[in-house]
Protein backbone atom coordinates (compact mmCIF):
# COMPACT_ATOMS: atom_id res chain seq x y z
CA UNK A 1 0.00 0.00 0.00
CA UNK A 2 1.59 3.20 -1.23
CA UNK A 3 1.15 5.79 1.53
CA UNK A 4 2.82 8.57 -0.46
CA UNK A 5 2.02 8.89 -4.14
CA UNK A 6 3.39 11.00 -6.95
CA UNK A 7 1.09 10.26 -9.85
CA UNK A 8 3.05 12.09 -12.53
CA UNK A 9 6.21 10.19 -13.49
CA UNK A 10 7.46 13.10 -15.58
CA UNK A 11 6.94 16.81 -16.20
CA UNK A 12 8.34 19.05 -18.89
CA UNK A 13 8.45 22.83 -18.46
CA UNK A 14 9.91 25.75 -20.37
CA UNK A 15 12.71 27.72 -18.74
CA UNK A 16 11.37 30.72 -16.81
CA UNK A 17 7.91 29.22 -16.32
CA UNK A 18 6.47 27.68 -13.15
CA UNK A 19 6.96 23.99 -12.34
CA UNK A 20 4.33 22.39 -10.11
CA UNK A 21 5.01 18.95 -8.70
CA UNK A 22 2.25 17.16 -6.82
CA UNK A 23 2.14 14.59 -4.07
CA UNK A 24 -0.74 12.84 -2.28
CA UNK A 25 -0.68 10.89 0.95
CA UNK A 26 -3.09 8.59 2.72
CA UNK A 27 -1.86 8.46 6.32
CA UNK A 28 -3.47 11.22 8.39
CA UNK A 29 -0.78 10.71 11.08
CA UNK A 30 1.90 12.21 8.85
CA UNK A 31 3.00 15.54 10.32
CA UNK A 32 6.23 16.37 8.55
CA UNK A 33 6.73 16.57 4.80
CA UNK A 34 9.84 17.04 2.72
CA UNK A 35 10.94 17.37 -0.88
CA UNK A 36 14.21 15.93 -2.14
CA UNK A 37 15.94 16.43 -5.45
CA UNK A 38 18.04 13.74 -7.09
CA UNK A 39 20.46 13.90 -10.01
CA UNK A 40 21.53 10.67 -11.76
CA UNK A 41 24.27 8.72 -9.96
CA UNK A 42 23.98 10.95 -6.88
CA UNK A 43 22.16 10.65 -3.59
CA UNK A 44 19.02 12.73 -2.96
CA UNK A 45 19.56 16.17 -1.49
CA UNK A 46 17.12 17.95 0.78
CA UNK A 47 15.21 20.80 -0.81
CA UNK A 48 12.47 22.07 1.47
CA UNK A 49 10.19 20.85 4.23
CA UNK A 50 6.91 21.76 5.91
CA UNK A 51 5.35 20.88 9.22
CA UNK A 52 1.65 20.03 9.43
CA UNK A 53 1.02 23.14 11.52
CA UNK A 54 1.75 25.26 8.44
CA UNK A 55 0.19 25.40 5.00
CA UNK A 56 3.02 27.09 3.16
CA UNK A 57 6.79 27.35 3.33
CA UNK A 58 9.06 29.32 1.02
CA UNK A 59 12.75 29.19 0.30
CA UNK A 60 13.87 31.32 -2.59
CA UNK A 61 12.42 29.96 -5.83
CA UNK A 62 10.88 26.98 -4.03
CA UNK A 63 7.52 26.98 -2.24
CA UNK A 64 5.77 24.00 -0.71
CA UNK A 65 2.01 24.07 -0.10
CA UNK A 66 0.21 21.67 2.21
CA UNK A 67 -3.53 20.98 2.06
CA UNK A 68 -4.24 18.71 5.02
CA UNK A 69 -7.93 18.24 4.30
CA UNK A 70 -7.11 16.96 0.81
CA UNK A 71 -3.96 15.15 2.01
CA UNK A 72 -2.07 16.86 -0.77
CA UNK A 73 1.15 18.78 -1.06
CA UNK A 74 2.77 20.52 -3.96
CA UNK A 75 6.15 22.02 -4.79
CA UNK A 76 6.27 25.17 -6.89
CA UNK A 77 9.47 26.25 -8.60
CA UNK A 78 9.43 29.78 -9.98
CA UNK A 79 11.13 30.57 -12.26
CA UNK A 80 12.26 27.16 -13.47
CA UNK A 81 15.85 26.80 -14.64
CA UNK A 82 17.56 24.07 -16.71
CA UNK A 83 19.64 23.15 -13.63
CA UNK A 84 16.39 22.19 -11.90
CA UNK A 85 16.09 19.19 -14.21
CA UNK A 86 16.18 16.20 -11.86
CA UNK A 87 13.95 13.65 -10.16
CA UNK A 88 11.95 15.09 -7.28
CA UNK A 89 10.75 12.94 -4.41
CA UNK A 90 8.24 13.92 -1.79
CA UNK A 91 8.44 12.22 1.59
CA UNK A 92 6.42 12.14 4.78
CA UNK A 93 6.85 11.01 8.34
CA UNK A 94 4.94 10.92 11.60
CA UNK A 95 6.40 11.72 14.98
CA UNK A 96 5.38 8.30 16.23
CA UNK A 97 7.59 6.37 13.84
CA UNK A 98 10.03 8.91 12.52
CA UNK A 99 10.97 7.01 9.38
CA UNK A 100 10.51 8.78 6.06
CA UNK A 101 8.16 7.28 3.48
CA UNK A 102 8.92 8.37 -0.08
CA UNK A 103 6.82 8.74 -3.19
CA UNK A 104 7.77 7.24 -6.55
CA UNK A 105 9.37 10.43 -7.83
CA UNK A 106 8.65 12.87 -10.68
CA UNK A 107 11.27 13.54 -13.31
CA UNK A 108 11.32 17.25 -14.12
CA UNK A 109 12.80 18.44 -17.39
CA UNK A 110 13.28 22.19 -17.83
CA UNK A 111 13.91 23.08 -21.44
CA UNK A 112 15.90 26.20 -22.43
Amino acid sequence: DQQVKQNSPSLSVQEGRISILNCDYTNSMFDYFLWYKKYPAEGPTFLISISSIKDKNEDGRFTVFLNKSAKHLSLHIVPSQPGDSAVYFCAASSGAGGKLIFGQGTELSVKP
Partner: protein
Protein backbone atom coordinates in the same frame (compact mmCIF):
# COMPACT_ATOMS: atom_id res chain seq x y z
CA UNK B 1 29.99 19.82 6.16
CA UNK B 2 27.71 16.84 6.55
CA UNK B 3 29.08 13.63 5.09
CA UNK B 4 27.61 10.20 4.46
CA UNK B 5 30.06 7.93 2.67
CA UNK B 6 29.18 4.70 0.92
CA UNK B 7 32.15 2.46 0.26
CA UNK B 8 31.44 1.63 -3.39
CA UNK B 9 29.77 3.55 -6.24
CA UNK B 10 29.41 0.49 -8.47
CA UNK B 11 29.43 -3.19 -7.59
CA UNK B 12 28.95 -6.32 -9.69
CA UNK B 13 28.29 -9.61 -7.92
CA UNK B 14 27.19 -13.10 -8.87
CA UNK B 15 23.99 -14.80 -7.77
CA UNK B 16 24.44 -16.51 -4.40
CA UNK B 17 27.34 -14.34 -3.26
CA UNK B 18 27.29 -12.65 0.14
CA UNK B 19 27.44 -8.90 -0.35
CA UNK B 20 28.39 -6.19 2.15
CA UNK B 21 27.48 -2.55 1.59
CA UNK B 22 29.18 -0.19 4.00
CA UNK B 23 28.07 3.27 5.09
CA UNK B 24 29.81 5.73 7.39
CA UNK B 25 28.56 9.10 8.65
CA UNK B 26 30.65 11.75 10.36
CA UNK B 27 27.84 13.81 11.92
CA UNK B 28 27.32 11.85 15.14
CA UNK B 29 23.75 11.13 14.04
CA UNK B 30 21.63 8.74 16.03
CA UNK B 31 19.59 7.37 13.14
CA UNK B 32 20.75 5.54 10.04
CA UNK B 33 18.78 4.08 7.15
CA UNK B 34 19.13 1.89 4.10
CA UNK B 35 16.88 2.47 1.09
CA UNK B 36 16.79 1.03 -2.38
CA UNK B 37 15.70 3.01 -5.40
CA UNK B 38 14.04 1.35 -8.38
CA UNK B 39 12.41 3.04 -11.40
CA UNK B 40 8.73 3.69 -10.81
CA UNK B 41 8.91 2.56 -7.19
CA UNK B 42 10.75 5.47 -5.60
CA UNK B 43 12.82 4.93 -2.47
CA UNK B 44 11.82 1.98 -0.34
CA UNK B 45 13.07 1.50 3.21
CA UNK B 46 14.92 -1.75 3.85
CA UNK B 47 16.20 -1.37 7.44
CA UNK B 48 16.90 1.41 9.88
CA UNK B 49 18.61 1.87 13.21
CA UNK B 50 17.95 4.34 16.01
CA UNK B 51 20.96 3.41 18.09
CA UNK B 52 24.07 1.26 18.17
CA UNK B 53 23.25 -2.45 18.03
CA UNK B 54 19.60 -1.64 17.39
CA UNK B 55 17.83 -2.37 14.13
CA UNK B 56 14.29 -2.18 12.83
CA UNK B 57 12.77 -3.70 9.71
CA UNK B 58 11.59 -1.31 7.06
CA UNK B 59 9.08 -2.06 4.32
CA UNK B 60 11.16 -4.57 2.32
CA UNK B 61 13.60 -6.37 4.66
CA UNK B 62 13.39 -9.81 3.05
CA UNK B 63 16.76 -11.04 1.82
CA UNK B 64 18.68 -8.41 3.76
CA UNK B 65 20.23 -7.99 7.18
CA UNK B 66 22.09 -5.11 8.83
CA UNK B 67 24.78 -4.48 11.39
CA UNK B 68 25.45 -1.42 13.52
CA UNK B 69 28.36 -2.08 15.84
CA UNK B 70 29.45 1.56 16.01
CA UNK B 71 27.38 4.72 15.91
CA UNK B 72 28.95 6.00 12.72
CA UNK B 73 28.77 2.80 10.70
CA UNK B 74 25.74 0.96 9.29
CA UNK B 75 26.24 -2.07 7.07
CA UNK B 76 23.73 -3.72 4.77
CA UNK B 77 24.23 -7.42 4.08
CA UNK B 78 22.78 -9.48 1.26
CA UNK B 79 23.16 -13.02 2.58
CA UNK B 80 22.74 -14.66 -0.83
CA UNK B 81 22.45 -12.15 -3.64
CA UNK B 82 19.73 -12.61 -6.22
CA UNK B 83 19.08 -10.87 -9.53
CA UNK B 84 16.03 -9.06 -8.12
CA UNK B 85 18.35 -7.28 -5.71
CA UNK B 86 19.96 -5.40 -8.59
CA UNK B 87 19.26 -1.82 -7.61
CA UNK B 88 20.61 1.53 -6.43
CA UNK B 89 21.22 1.35 -2.67
CA UNK B 90 21.15 4.55 -0.66
CA UNK B 91 22.33 5.04 2.90
CA UNK B 92 21.13 7.99 4.97
CA UNK B 93 21.44 9.39 8.46
CA UNK B 94 19.50 11.88 10.57
CA UNK B 95 19.98 13.46 14.00
CA UNK B 96 16.57 12.43 15.34
CA UNK B 97 12.85 12.02 14.76
CA UNK B 98 11.22 14.21 12.15
CA UNK B 99 14.58 15.51 11.00
CA UNK B 100 15.71 15.61 7.42
CA UNK B 101 17.82 12.76 6.11
CA UNK B 102 21.30 13.20 4.68
CA UNK B 103 22.06 10.73 1.93
CA UNK B 104 25.21 9.15 0.59
CA UNK B 105 25.95 9.05 -3.13
CA UNK B 106 24.55 5.55 -3.52
CA UNK B 107 25.86 2.16 -4.61
CA UNK B 108 24.63 0.76 -7.93
CA UNK B 109 24.63 -2.99 -7.38
CA UNK B 110 24.28 -5.41 -10.27
CA UNK B 111 23.71 -9.08 -9.50
CA UNK B 112 24.38 -11.35 -12.47
Amino acid sequence: DVKVTQSSRYLVKRTGEKVFLECVQDMDHENMFWYRQDPGLGLRLIYFSYDVKMKEKGDIPEGYSVSREKKERFSLILESASTNQTSMYLCASSPGYNEKLFFGSGTQLSVL
